[in-house]
């Protein structure tokens, strides 16, 4: 697949145009309403989005549903994609926002019936034993408490800064840092058994 240079210019707010950005032709074709081009984009990016959803949601059914929701939302919003960032970056950010919003709702529902402390005890009791390879690290991540898991996945796996995570999740930067250390400790305790 070759990339084409489109006349997508960044609006600097001064009426001046910057250099055109190279954009995947499938992005502009999909933005024009071509669902076959959008399917090609889906095939290209689905693994990355599904991995993110799987790690943040810690449930394969939820991850599949969220992955589908992300691509439907991307289709709906593709008209607003201006090429200011790479399509993959734009899609990833959209996915993080959608998944976190969904998880917040889910956690609120769960906490109504299961107290937070019980969730952590449940996690500690269900952690895998004698694990060591990468698949087991994913299994261990899935069993972290939701707050620690979110921060760990966004920071250590996806490379977000604490300030960004704070903005995305609504927690303080200090809380994000504390959750990260907690997540790492829990993971090591489990994986190093």
């Amino acid at each position: 697949m070759t990339a084409a240079t489109l006349a997508l210019h960044h609006d600097t707010g001064t009426g001046e145009a910057t250099a055109p950005r190279t954009v995947d032709p499938d992005v502009s074709t999909a933005a024009a309403g071509d669902d076959r081009a959008f399917e090609r984009l889906y095939r290209l990016h689905v693994g990355r989005i599904h991995a993110l959803a799987l790690r943040l949601a810690a449930d394969s059914d939820d991850a599949e549903r969220l992955t589908q929701d992300v691509f439907v939302r991307a289709w709906e919003r593709l008209g607003s994609f201006r090429g200011d960032s790479a399509f993959g970056t734009w899609l990833h950010r959209l996915a993080v926002n959608l998944i976190l919003s969904d998880r917040r709702s889910a956690w609120r529902r769960t906490r109504r019936v299961v107290p937070k402390a019980d969730l952590e005890e449940e996690m500690a009791a269900s952690l895998p034993v004698n694990v060591g390879d990468r698949l087991d690290l994913d299994a261990a991540i899935a069993m972290l408490p939701p707050g620690a898991r979110t921060v760990f996945v966004l920071h250590d796996v996806e490379g977000y800064e604490h300030a960004e995570i704070a903005g995305l999740t609504g927690v303080a930067v200090g809380t994000s840092k504390a959750q990260l250390f907690r997540a790492r400790r829990l993971l090591r305790e489990v994986l190093d058994r």
């Binding site: 959008f38 991995a51 799987l54 008209g79």
Partner: protein
């Protein structure tokens, strides 16, 4: 670096290998006397090594596209050629086509040099207006689509230019007038369709 908080702040730089020698020496001095920070650093390194080995992409167990495709509704385009522009162009095209037919039929009976010039002016105006509509919509077209359309338009314009040049060389040739009219009609019909791409 005496504060455990400073050590925690320095861990990302430590992992990235970005600590200067002086800061690194301060960090090592702190770690030598602080078991808690030593544990944090070791844990960060231990977990970081395993995290880097995680796959960035994990394919879903089934094809999720089948659940996505039916949910893709028609999206509003950023640009659509104004309906009134296309409607007006269509009316102009119909009028010009009728006028051209009448004029060409009449000219087979009686020459009317001013009539063809007037007819051609009408075609030129219609082509210019439709060309403006197309230029406004072309930014919304995929590069591949745009390239195909514009290559086709070049062919049509070249044919028109050749027909017009032939008519200039032989102004009394009624058959060449018909060829020029047909070329204009082709160009206008093409521009009309190309402009409609912007709203399909």
């Amino acid at each position: 670096m005496n504060d455990c908080r400073d050590v925690r702040e320095a861990i990302p730089s430590l992992l990235a290998g970005n600590l200067g020698p002086e800061t690194r020496a301060q960090l090592d001095a702190h770690l030598a006397r602080c078991q808690a920070c030593r544990d944090d650093v070791e844990t960060a390194i231990w977990v970081g090594e395993r995290t880097r080995a995680l796959p960035r992409a994990i394919a879903p167990a089934r094809d999720l596209w089948t659940g996505i495709a039916p949910r893709l509704g028609r999206r509003t385009r950023r640009f659509a050629a104004p309906w009134w522009g296309l409607a007006a162009a269509a009316i102009v095209l119909m009028a010009l086509s009728s006028a051209a037919t009448v004029a060409l039929v009449r000219r087979t009976v009686q020459p009317d040099p001013g009539g063809f010039a007037q007819l051609e002016l009408g075609f030129q105006n219609a082509a210019r207006e439709l060309g403006e509509v197309y230029r406004e919509s072309r930014g919304t077209l995929a590069p591949g689509t745009r390239a195909v359309l514009e290559r086709n338009l070049e062919v049509i314009e070249r044919a028109l230019a050749e027909a017009r040049a032939a008519l200039d060389a032989d102004p009394s040739n009624r058959a060449l007038e018909a060829v020029v009219v047909a070329a204009y009609k082709r160009k206008i019909a093409f521009l009309e369709r190309a402009s409609a791409f912007g709203e399909s």
